[in-house]
Symmetry: C2
Subunit: 380 residues, 2 copies
């Protein structure tokens, strides 16, 4: 409902001239094409399970997706094409592969539990990630636990989730928070993001993911205070430019400092991260305390989760220094820490210490992100 | 002028409720703070040179930027702080470093010219990048050579530039195209982007860079046909999600295929790129031919420069296969190739063959992007 109203408002911005142009990229509203053909991003509900299906008792362990004419052509050349066999044959092959998958999963589970047992015998006990917010964030979760058409799938320690969470709080948009164990992705999350990464938003029968995409989506809803300055194309571009800088320089460097095990490399990685923060501070309003001035906005929300993890994660694990008193940087950190929406989405310190130990020890299979950092590939 | 008009229109979208909110992120328009304090992204014109200054004859070789209280604190801890010496001392140090820089540059120039001479003696002659568009793109350059307050700094072979160029053409926004040799960045470009990367846009006394940021800027101008569907927050998010996919998966994989010298790795990299294109095709409208349907839009513009470089660069250098006739993928490639705005910004084939040879041979110092791919870091 929020979305529809906002959509109509925003549509009115477009002048008659561009809508009537023969060259218009989008057809006028009275032409149902091409949206009716394919409702982009709309989630298809699972059909009811047949009677006697083991999943009817709550155990849902496979879905069979029939694909015809929309997949690869089997030649591994990246080109789509029709299936070369019948749908029945396709179902049979997929059922077999599901069975193989389940067997493999059972084997790995068995192996993993023995590894856990070994590690408690031979090694100091390892801390693990939390699956439930604590402190003020727990209160916010409890205030947003009732059913809502707008659902945020998040994990309490995840900084990408916190971006979207801060924005929802700052805008006062009603939402439901759904805590997800990122190592045991629920089916409802996989429906919104097949890769199972958080944050993911479900809005009615539609869903999307990627924190920056979701922040832009919340802006486009035009509900509550804007985080990008409305109507100022140049200032909006400036904010997006520095948000992009955060995603390219601050986020990956944060994990490089944390995951690096070699002490000399930790130091040079930390220097890169410090330089990136210094560059960002130089781009900010000189008075501050926030990026654009007195109030929190888009760039602050993009970087806040990593700023609050400096004292909570990088300081204990990598001796990250506190800001100098009275510096512009210190004023920004303090403003972020004191902001009510940041506080409302932040758990107690212990949650971060525990949840990031696996990164600081660079344990295998920590996350797709951790593996991307280790292999020098784009973040997932 | 375009920007101001559009800004006012878009500002009207925001309802009275959110503007009057005490919690509003941006102050109401009658409050000059905080914009007056710091005009973000506004370029400071160089002051007139003093009489007798060597630069007065057209030779401009250094600028001295006085910084006090906005730089690092000298402790290399990423924290800003006031300078510890006077502005005069700062000027002296900077003049010396400019002199050192000029000496170093002269030495390297001498060395480079001798390397060039050697390479023509001992190696097969190497092709080099073009610095002037050819074919239909040359015609477009010549039609956009006269002075305009909106300036696109571009290099004729650069796909990131072509994104912005296609969007300007599709929207019919008046602009001036300024060809830049990316290996000899002019001062006018460095004023807009201190790193000297193209594309960069200058709009009056303001400038910005990064192709995706610039595409959003052109959308925010609300001039000409939109590329993101106006008023449809969900479909806009869908487009941004897949634009993000292109930037994370298709763009870096394109260069991994081209720069890789090991044949087995070329094959596995090509498979990753093919898989990424197949995923993108599956996300597109099933009828097409473009991503959202009958017309070119945001996602097409983001990916078009790499699609047209498949047949022009990856096919000759890495035997990239043509699309299967009649496939959805083939229909998309054909639609991109036949689009008038893509054609208007595309040079003759030889320009791409020549300009990308240095990537295909993975020569050192090819570009920041090529180095980032080699070292497994985020793209610049």
């Amino acid at each position: 409902m929020i979305a529809e109203g906002a959509a109509n408002d925003a549509g009115a911005v477009l002048g008659a001239e561009s809508m009537s142009s023969g060259n218009a990229v989008f057809p006028p509203p009275d032409d149902p094409e091409p949206r009716d053909r394919q409702p982009f991003g709309v989630l298809t509900p699972n059909p009811p399970l047949p009677e006697g299906h083991p999943g009817a008792n709550g155990q849902r362990f496979f879905t069979i997706q029939r694909v015809n004419g929309n997949g690869a052509n089997g030649k591994n050349d990246g080109v789509s094409g029709g299936h070369r066999h019948t749908l029945e044959e396709s179902d049979r092959v997929k059922k077999n592969s599901v069975q193989r998958y389940l067997l493999k999963e059972a084997r790995e589970k068995k192996k993993a539990s023995s590894v856990r047992a070994m590690s408690t015998q031979n090694q100091p006990s390892q801390k693990t990630y939390h699956t439930k917010a604590t402190g003020l964030a727990a209160l916010t979760v409890s205030n947003h636990s009732s059913e809502n058409e707008l659902k945020l799938y998040g994990s309490c320690f995840c900084p990408f989730v916190q971006r979207v969470w801060i924005a929802l709080e700052a805008k006062g948009i009603p939402y439901q928070y759904i805590e997800v164990d990122p190592y045991k992705k629920p089916q409802s999350l996989l429906e919104v993001n097949p890769r199972g990464l958080v944050p993911a938003l479900r809005h009615g029968d539609w869903g999307s993911h990627e924190s920056t995409v979701l922040l832009e989506y919340l802006e486009d809803l035009n509900t509550g205070p804007p985080l990008l300055p409305p109507g100022d194309a140049k200032l909006r571009a400036y904010c997006r430019l520095w948000a992009d800088f955060i995603n390219r320089n601050i986020v990956p460097n944060f994990y490089r400092v944390l995951q690096e095990q070699d002490e000399q490399k930790q130091i040079s990685n930390a220097q890169e991260l410090k330089d990136a923060f210094a560059t960002l501070v130089n781009a900010a309003d000189s008075q501050g305390p926030f990026f654009l001035g007195a109030n929190i906005s888009f760039v602050d929300v993009q970087v806040a989760p990593w700023i609050i993890r400096l004292s909570r994660v990088l300081k204990p694990y990598r001796a990250w220094p506190d800001p100098d008193a009275g510096s512009r940087w210190g004023a920004w950190v303090n403003a972020i820490e004191a902001n009510e929406h940041v506080k409302a989405t932040t758990s107690d310190d212990e949650l971060y210490i525990d949840s990031y130990e696996r990164y600081a020890q660079n344990r295998p299979n920590t996350s797709l992100l951790a593996s991307a950092i280790n292999s020098g590939r784009s973040l997932p």
